[in-house]
Structures are given as C-alpha cells and as structure tokens.
C-alpha cells in the first residue's frame, strides 16, 4: 500500500469533471487506466464500464466485483483538491468528488498492492446521482461475479446489507385558471385539491421500517389567479416491499379522490422504483468484509439503510453485494472532504478481502 500513490491517484481522478450525466469523458479515462492495470474492458450500451483483471498468484476462477459510480453532483467542474495533513478538501467553490472517486482510487491502489487476488471485475457506473440509472441499465450479462462490493458509504466501518423499496413519484394536479377576484367560480384550484389530498395522507414515519414524505410542492404562479397547476414530489419507502406498495396505492387513491372532489385532474408518475433487498448477515460477502475489518482494527457496523444505492439494482440482478465506505464526509456540498487515514484503512480492508479470496 503506497499512501502517496493513493493520494495522487485520487487527486488525478477528481480533477476530471464528471457531473451527471456528463460523465463519459471520465469513464473513458477510467477505461484507459484499468487497461494499464492489466484489465480487459468493455462498455455496455448505457456507457457503464466493466473491467476484468485476471487472478494474481491464485488459482481461483471465481470473480469478485468492486463497483463505484463515476459521476458526481454539481458543482463539480474545475475541482482543485487541496491535500492537508489529515484530509483532502476542495478549494471551496466546488464539491471534492470523493463521492465516489475515493472508492475508485482505493480500488486502483488495491489492484496495485494486493499480493494475490482472484479474478476481479471493476464496474464504474454512470449517473448514480440522478436515479441510480447506471446500475439500473447495466448489462449484467457482461458480469461474471456472484458477489461484490459497492464502495459508496462514508466510513471504513460501514457494511450495508439492505436497502428499502423506494417509490419516488411526481403528482401533478391540473385545475382551471380564472381571475380570483372577478370570476373565482369559473376556476378550479389545483392548490386546494393538492392541499386536501396532503391533509389526508399519512406522512413521516408510518411504521418502524416505513416512511412517506411530500418533499416539494410548487403550485400556482400569481396571487390573483385561481391556480391551475400544482406539482408535488412525493416518496414512500419501506424495508418491506409489500408495505411500500400498499402505502403507494393508498397515497394514489387519496390523490385521485381529492382531484375528483375538486373537479381537478391528477397524473401520477413514478420516476424511480427501487425494490428492497436484504443480504443475510452470515453471507460470505458480509463475513469476508467483517473479518477484513477486524484484521485491520476496524469495528464493523453491519446495518440496513433507508436509501437506495447501486447495490439495490446489483443485488436484484443476482450479485450479492454489500456497500462499504470510502472515507468521505459532507458529501454533496462544497465542504466535502476525505480523511486520508480512512482512505488507507479502506484500501487495506479491500486488499485483505481479495487476498483472503485468492
């Protein structure tokens, strides 16, 4: 493990902009880099990168996958990493891009420093931040691994074994505009219909594993017009898939009833639907990570989370995949930074995993 090489790799990666969906140039850079590490690479139709690295000092022919996303949130152009004693941060006017390029740098350093390993597949997905779309459209026929790791959490102790069903959807109420002072009786208020519906929804925590939220509403344009449009960004989540679907149906019915009551129309479009997954704690992919952490002096924190990652799609496509940390903090902000000791710790942990599999 070469700490300064790891830091240099990381800084090189974040300097290449890859704001989703403009992440193809970065993927091309990664393709070149993986080839230099001895990988055979393929791009699928969506532009996701799959690199295959042959086994090293090992007769194993069972692939293990490591996956990161290549895109970043905004503002991610012109990132200038500043390496301090303990952390690496941006100059302050951009994000750092440690999410998820710290994970990529760790994987590259692992490939370079592992004394032995089984065949490895490195998958760099596109557009995780805006859906996660890359993993959804990934051509899984290109992947041989039966197990793997997504590197996309914060700390080295994270081992994520489950995620919820997430239904993200948009509700659009359409009423009839009219001058509110002259002829309000000619109008149908989309805001009133929406407000009536939201009043009847169960929101917040619904049970120990289920939540619902109306996160955004934009209704009307002018004080003196009966508002014609109201658009809502809504979600429901549950670690139990059936509960999530039931809550979604219940919400849809309330929206439809409210529209009917006020004479408005409503359209409901699910923008993302992720299905819950859960890996048993005694699965090999979990136990290997737990053991590698302990060998490197890290106390594992095995848990399910309330959000979707690339791992949701990957697990549903038959590749048992846990999510590990990358060593970043304050992601999605210009305050984002990575902790150098954690970059090192995670590189050591994944190196131990591949050496144990060799």
């Amino acid at each position: 493990m070469d700490k300064s090489r790891l830091i240099n790799t990381f800084c090189d990666l974040v300097r290449i902009p890859s704001e989703s969906p403009d992440d193809k140039e970065f993927i091309a850079y990664m393709e070149n880099l993986l080839q230099k590490e001895g990988a055979k690479t393929r791009l699928d139709d969506f532009g996701n990168l799959v690199g295959k690295i042959p086994a090293k000092n090992s007769s194993s022919n069972e692939y293990v996958m490591f996956c990161c996303h290549g895109d970043t949130v905004k503002p991610g152009i012109g990132i200038e990493p500043v390496v301090e004693e303990k952390i690496i941060r941006s100059k302050g006017d951009t994000i750092l891009g440690g999410d998820d390029k710290a994970g990529i740098a760790e994987i590259i350093e692992m490939l370079r420093s592992a004394k032995k390993h089984p065949p490895i597949e490195v998958v760099i997905t596109r557009c995780e931040e805006i859906a996660p779309a890359g993993a959804e459209f990934l051509d899984y026929s290109l992947i041989d691994s039966k197990m793997g790791y997504v590197l996309d959490m914060d700390t080295p102790s994270d081992v994520i074994t489950g995620g919820p069903t997430c239904i993200f959807y948009t509700v659009k109420f359409k009423g009839v505009p009219a001058h509110s002072g002259v002829s309000p009786e000619k109008g149908v208020s989309a805001i009133q219909a929406a407000a009536y519906a939201i009043s009847n929804l169960r929101l917040g925590r619904i049970d120990h594993e289920t939540t619902a939220n109306v996160g955004v509403i934009k209704g009307g344009h002018s004080m003196n017009i009966i508002p014609e449009d109201a658009e809502l960004a809504v979600e429901c989540r549950s670690l139990n898939n059936e509960t999530a679907l039931k809550v979604f149906d219940e919400m849809k019915e309330i929206f439809n009833k409210a529209a009917k009551k006020f004479g408005a129309t409503v359209s409901i479009d699910a923008t993302t639907a992720l299905e819950a997954y859960s890996i048993p704690k005694d699965a090999k992919v979990v136990q290997l990570a737990v053991s590698a952490m302990k060998k490197n002096g890290v106390t594992p924190d095995v848990k399910g989370i309330a959000g979707g990652t690339d791992a949701t799609h990957i697990n549903h496509n038959g590749i048992q995949t846990a999510v590990l940390g990358v060593g970043g903090r304050m992601m999605h902000s210009t305050e984002e930074y990575v902790i150098i000791d954690e970059l090192v710790a995670i590189t050591n942990i994944i190196t131990t995993i591949v050496e144990d599999l060799a």
Binding site: P164, C166, F168, H179, S180, G181, V182, P184, E185, G187, S189, I191, Q192, A194, A195, Y196, I198, S199, L203, G204, R205, T211, A212, N213, V214, G215, V216, I217, K218, G219, G220, H221, S222, M223, N224, I225, I226, P227, A230, A233, V234, E235, R237, I305, A306, G307
Partner: protein, 360 residues
C-alpha cells in the same frame, strides 16, 4: 382627430420597452414627447411623471387629470406592432405582449390634446409600476396634483366606466418547520408543507359571497423529495366590495394560518398588505355624468360598473381626489394575443375630446 397619427403614436410608444420596474426610459420618452406639445413636466421622487397643459381657448382654471401607467407586464421587450387594417386591429407577432395596456390610453390622450380645439387646464399623470401592485400610484407625490378629478384610462372597451373598486388584501405567509432526511429520520423533522395544507384545508376559498372572494394563488414548499420540507411560502389574497368585510375576512384567514402553525409545531411569519382600499363614487356625480354624456354623444352606451381588481384609481380616491376608470380599446391583455381595436381607440379619443371641450 387624426387616426393615422393616433396609430403611429401608439406604435412608437409600444416599441419602447417598459416591463415593470424597468419603465424609467419609457417615462422619459413620454416626458420629452409631451414637452414638444407645449407642456411643463415634472417627475416626483419615485419617477412618476406629471405633465401640465395650460387651458386652450378657455378661461377655465379648474384642471382635470388623466392617468395611465407607463409599465407593462412581461414579455414586453422587442414588441413589433402589426397594424392589420383589414381586421381593424393592432396586434403583435406573437412573441410578446402588445403593451396596449396601458399605452393605447397614452396614445389617445396625446391625440386628444392635439385634436381638441379647446380645453381647461389638463394634468397628465403617467405612473410607474402599476402592474406590480400600483407602486407608482402608491408613491405618487399627490401635492403636485391640482385637479379635483382624475380619469384613469385602463379598462378594455370604451363603454366601461368603473365607479367603484374592491378592497384588496394580500397575505405573504411563510411556514418554517425543520428539515430531516425523510427516509432515515423523519421523526426529527417538522413538515412546513403539512402545516400549510392544514390551513388551506380549513379555509373557505373562491367566491365567499356576491362581493367577496378569497384565493391561495401560490404555494411553494420544500427543496428535495427526500427531505422533510423546512420552508413553505404561500401567497393568499381576499377582496370585498365591502371594506369591513375584506378586513374581517383577512383577519379570519390569518387566524387559520396561525392556528395551523401552532397545531403543527412550525413557526409562521405573515406579511399582510392592504393593496388597495375600495371606493365607490356616486353615479350622479359630475365626474361620472359628464363622461357618460361624452360616451353617449359618440353612440356608446355607458356600462357603469364596480370591479374587484385594484387600479391606480383607488389610490387617487384614497387621497381624496375622485377618480373613475375608463376603457381604451384593448383586449386579451397580459397575453401574447393582446390586441387593440382601432375603431375603439378612435372612439375613446373622440370621447376624451368631447369631454375636455365640454369642460372648457
């Protein structure tokens, strides 16, 4: 009255952009234009224009005032007026508004001054920023005005003669809750959207009675789907032809907004603005009767009405100067389909000429 001159004045005026609040250049243009007609012009500190014409062929010392607003709504930059003589209208190329609201009125006043053979002293008032809440009229230096009556030119058809307006109250409501990740720890958050819907749910909106209405026109809350929405902003209003009723209704709405906040655990801030205080002028008063006579003289049956929308006229009335609102010959205002009807512009001009000649 010279129709060709009226049309070309109008086209010249609408070509100068004056989207509120960027209407100062236009107002300077009008000032220059009218100085050429022999007037003295003055600007108040807000930038409203007051132009005084001495009496012509008349000994009258009683001046009367005409008022138009100089600003337009958007999109009002790059207006290309198209004169369609076959249809008898002036319209746009469809990419902007026309700006006939309110520049048809200004063109008619200019033509009236040119065409009238005699008139009493006249004051022409061009206000700023009418479209964004009569800001010009609200800030007008009324001490500069000598007239005891004002005709505001700002309705559609020449027959319209507005003698009363509603009291109008705006409410700008902000609910502040607490943000939290909606999937991970929703119990730590307080949804400002939920607080706001609780209020709207309990509110009577739309037509309250024959002269009273209420509306929540804008509802914007939250920033992200996966966050409990911290901030929600509502724009609400109520209007009534009865001043007391409007004030009482606005207070009731305010109470409902506050109660919903208390019950939801959010904070609330409400800015209430009495946009315009209603007025009602007697149909028998000179200001109304004399205009009605001028209309009838040109074959137009006056359509005397009371309206709910606030115009600059309410501010004059509030300051003790009786004002009524009359039509200018435009249609479909505030849209790219806005157009002016040439025959109606002629009619209004002739009516104005008869009015001032009658008062000379």
């Amino acid at each position: 009255m010279n129709t060709q001159r009226l049309i070309s004045t109008f086209c010249e005026l609408v070509k100068i952009p004056s989207e509120s609040p960027n209407d100062k250049e236009f107002i300077s243009y009008v000032a220059k234009f009218l100085r050429l007609e022999g007037a003295k012009s003055k600007r108040d500190s807000y930038g409203n224009l007051i132009i005084k014409f001495p009496a012509k062929n008349s000994k009258s010392k009683t001046s009367i005032a005409f008022c138009c607003h100089g600003d337009t709504v958007k999109p009002g930059v790059g207006i290309k007026p198209i004169v369609d003589l076959e249809k008898g209208i002036i319209r746009t190329d469809g990419t902007t508004i026309l700006g006939a609201d309110d520049k048809a009125g200004i063109a008619e006043i200019i033509e009236m001054i040119r065409a009238a053979e005699k008139h009493p002293p006249l004051e022409i008032i061009i206000t700023r920023c009418e479209e964004i809440g009569s800001l010009g009229a609200k800030n007008l230096d009324f001490s500069l005005i000598d007239s005891k009556r004002v005709y505001v030119l700002d309705m559609d058809a020449p027959s319209e003669l507005v003698i009363g307006e509603a009291t109008h109250v705006h409410m700008d409501v902000t609910y502040t809750g607490r943000a939290a990740h909606s999937g991970a720890e929703p119990e730590k958050g307080i949804s400002s959207i939920q607080a706001a819907v609780r209020a709207i749910y309990n509110m009577k909106l739309g037509r309250i009675d024959a002269g009273t209405t209420a509306n929540v026109g804008v509802f914007n809350g939250g920033e992200a789907r996966n966050s409990i929405p911290e901030t929600t902003k509502l724009l609400a209003e109520c209007r009534s032809l009865d001043y007391e009723k409007a004030i009482k209704l606005s207070e009731e709405m305010k109470e409902i907004f506050i109660k919903a906040s208390n019950e939801s655990g959010t904070k609330i801030h409400i800015d209430t603005d009495l946009v315009s205080k209603g007025y009602k002028i007697s149909a028998d008063s000179d200001i109304v009767k004399e205009f009605a006579i001028a209309l009838e003289k040109h074959g137009v049956k006056p359509d005397i009405q009371v309206i709910v929308a606030g115009t600059d006229a309410s501010l004059f009335n509030e300051h003790g100067i009786p004002a009524v609102v009359v039509g200018i010959g435009c249609r479909d205002i505030h849209s790219k389909g806005e157009y002016a009807i040439i025959s109606e512009m002629e009619t209004t001009t002739k009516v104005l000429v008869s009015l001032v000649e009658g008062l000379a």
